[in-house]
């Protein structure tokens, strides 16, 4: 396997899955924020 | 300063049944409801003052009545014409006076008035501009650029601009803001003459006593809804001031000094 192809795939997949991972972190943060609201105000079930 | 015969000049408007009718008007801006369930009907020729603390939604209400901003909910009819469907015809019969003069600063007072007169398709725009400038007492400064005018002068030329197409409904958003005593007196005189000529006037104002003196009917807007809607009697001032205070939690009635 040519190292350019290797580089292309590693960078490409790293970026793609990096976006997914960062969004997952944002979801957890959103969840924590939402959970806090729920505890303080008894919000959404 | 004001031409003596001004009140006879304004042509008598044909009294439509209701100049303005708003049913359950509401407005939400960015998920925040500024106005809720506003029900209002104003007969032709009535002078109505709208009071309220800052942020009560007065300017938003006036913008909606002036058809410059669509309501989020509810219905609005000007002269029996449903807005926004017949906005164009409704606009031809309303004039707006606002915080800002809505004039072109680089043009002279005459050029501004002639421009708007021609845009509205008024016959003999030059003569019309001349008449209005004499009524608002600005005839001697007619050919000076608006940017050289004081705030009071701007306001008077702005009123002239709002009247250029002889509207039946005049909407004024704090017309006295920033005016000195003579300036305010001149504008008060003009509004009274308009009212005498049978125009319907809706004025947003802060000065309670001035509003009670000028208007026939006073409406207090509190947090987006109509709190008070009753005929304007100067004796009512304490009650209205208390109501205004009521809508503003940090405002203590005791501190108020009634002039």
């Amino acid at each position: 396997m040519n190292d350019y192809v290797l580089a292309a795939y590693t960078i490409g997949l790293l970026l793609l899955w990096g976006y997914a991972a960062s969004m997952w972190l944002e979801c957890r943060a959103a969840a924590r924020r939402h959970v806090e609201v729920r505890q303080t105000k008894g919000g959404l079930p | 300063m004001i031409a003596a015969r001004s009140s006879s000049f304004f042509t008598e408007t044909n009294p439509a049944p209701l100049a303005l009718r708003a049913a359950d008007l509401g407005k939400t801006i960015d998920e925040r409801s500024v106005l809720q369930s506003i029900d209002l009907s104003i007969a032709a020729g009535q002078f109505v003052a709208i009071l309220g603390i800052n942020g009560a939604g007065k300017t938003t209400l006036l913008k909606i009545l002036a058809t410059l901003m669509p309501p989020s909910s509810g219905q609005l009819q000007l002269f029996g014409l449903d807005v926004p469907r017949h906005a164009a015809q409704a606009r031809a019969r309303l004039g707006l006076i606002g915080h800002q003069s809505m004039l072109y600063r680089d043009l002279t007072a005459r050029e501004n008035l002639e421009l708007f007169a021609r845009l509205y398709g008024v016959q003999a725009p030059r003569r019309r501009a001349e008449e209005l400038l004499s009524i608002v007492g600005m005839i001697d400064r007619a050919d000076d650029a608006v940017k050289t005018f004081s705030r009071g002068m701007c306001q008077r030329v702005s009123i002239a601009r709002a009247l250029v197409h002889q509207p039946d409904l005049v909407l004024a958003d704090e017309p006295f803001a920033g005016l000195d005593v003579p300036g305010a007196a001149a504008v008060e005189r003009l509004l009274s003459d308009l009212h005498a000529a049978g125009k319907t006037i809706v004025m947003v104002n802060h000065d309670v006593l001035q509003s009670l003196r000028l208007a026939e009917r006073v409406i207090v807007l509190g947090a987006g809804t109509i709190a008070i809607d009753r005929p304007a009697r100067v004796s009512d001032a304490p009650g209205i001031l208390a109501e205004l205070a009521g809508t503003d939690p940090q405002f203590q009635p005791g501190e108020m000094v009634i002039r």
Binding site: - | R91, A92, L119, Y120
Partner: protein, 224 residues
């Protein structure tokens, strides 16, 4: 004369009268354009890219001076919220857009008449082969550019956005103009190919698409 045409002429007359009276924009914009041409001319050295450097440099000058023009003509409407008064008059927003577009084009034309000769001079770009093609290609480009500029200026002016944002919005969208006109002129002047083909197609399509799109969307962005 139909009312619409009368209103159109009134509005354009108003814009040009205001501009003639203050004369601020024209001076500022022309000098900026000249500065850009001089600086890039010096930087790239006389006959950069066989004289074709001129077209790109002219485009950079047009882009920046155009942004200032569009901003100024819209600021005039916003200064005392005269736009709200205009919106209450019975003129359609389409007429308002066309009037504003024409005033912008007039200003741009005046600026281009000064900058273009300077650019051609500094880059010793001999137009003798087909001066009219050069003028036609550049004016087609400016028309399309003014169409987007007028729309985006209305968008930017209705919010408290900084000036730089208008340039940022317009430049990427206007890139096809720059590429197409430059390539077209290269084909025309260097390879003596007849004008036409893809380059002209892109310019004409650009103007057609964005004149109609801006005209249709202008009222959406108008905020009194």
């Amino acid at each position: 004369m139909p009312l619409v045409a009368q209103q159109f002429l009134l509005l354009v007359g108003k814009d040009l009268k205001i501009e003639a009276r203050s004369r601020q924009t024209i001076g500022l914009v022309t000098v900026l354009g000249l500065l850009i041409v001089v600086v890039l001319g010096l930087g790239l050295g006389g006959g950069a890219a066989g004289g074709f450097g001129a077209t790109v440099v002219l485009w950079v000058a047009y882009l920046f001076s155009g942004v200032l023009c569009f901003e100024k003509t819209m600021a005039v409407e916003r200064s005392e919220s005269a736009l709200a008064a205009l919106m209450l008059t019975p003129i359609s927003h389409g007429t308002l857009f066309l009037a504003k577009l024409t005033s912008n084009l007039a200003l741009m034309a005046a600026v281009a008449l000064v900058i273009t000769p300077a650019g051609v001079l500094f880059f010793s770009f001999d137009l003798s082969a087909a001066p009219f093609t050069f003028a036609a290609v550049m004016s087609l480009g400016i028309i399309g550019f003014a169409a987007i500029g007028t729309l985006f200026a209305a968008v930017v002016s209705s919010t408290r956005l900084q000036g730089g944002l208008l340039a940022m919005m317009i430049f990427p969208v206007a890139l096809p103009l720059v590429i197409a006109s430059t390539q077209l002129l290269i084909h025309q002047f260097r390879d003596q190919l007849p004008v036409g083909g893809m380059g002209l197609g892109v310019l004409v399509a650009f103007d057609a698409i964005f004149l109609t799109a801006s005209w249709l969307m202008f009222e959406l962005v108008l905020e009194p």
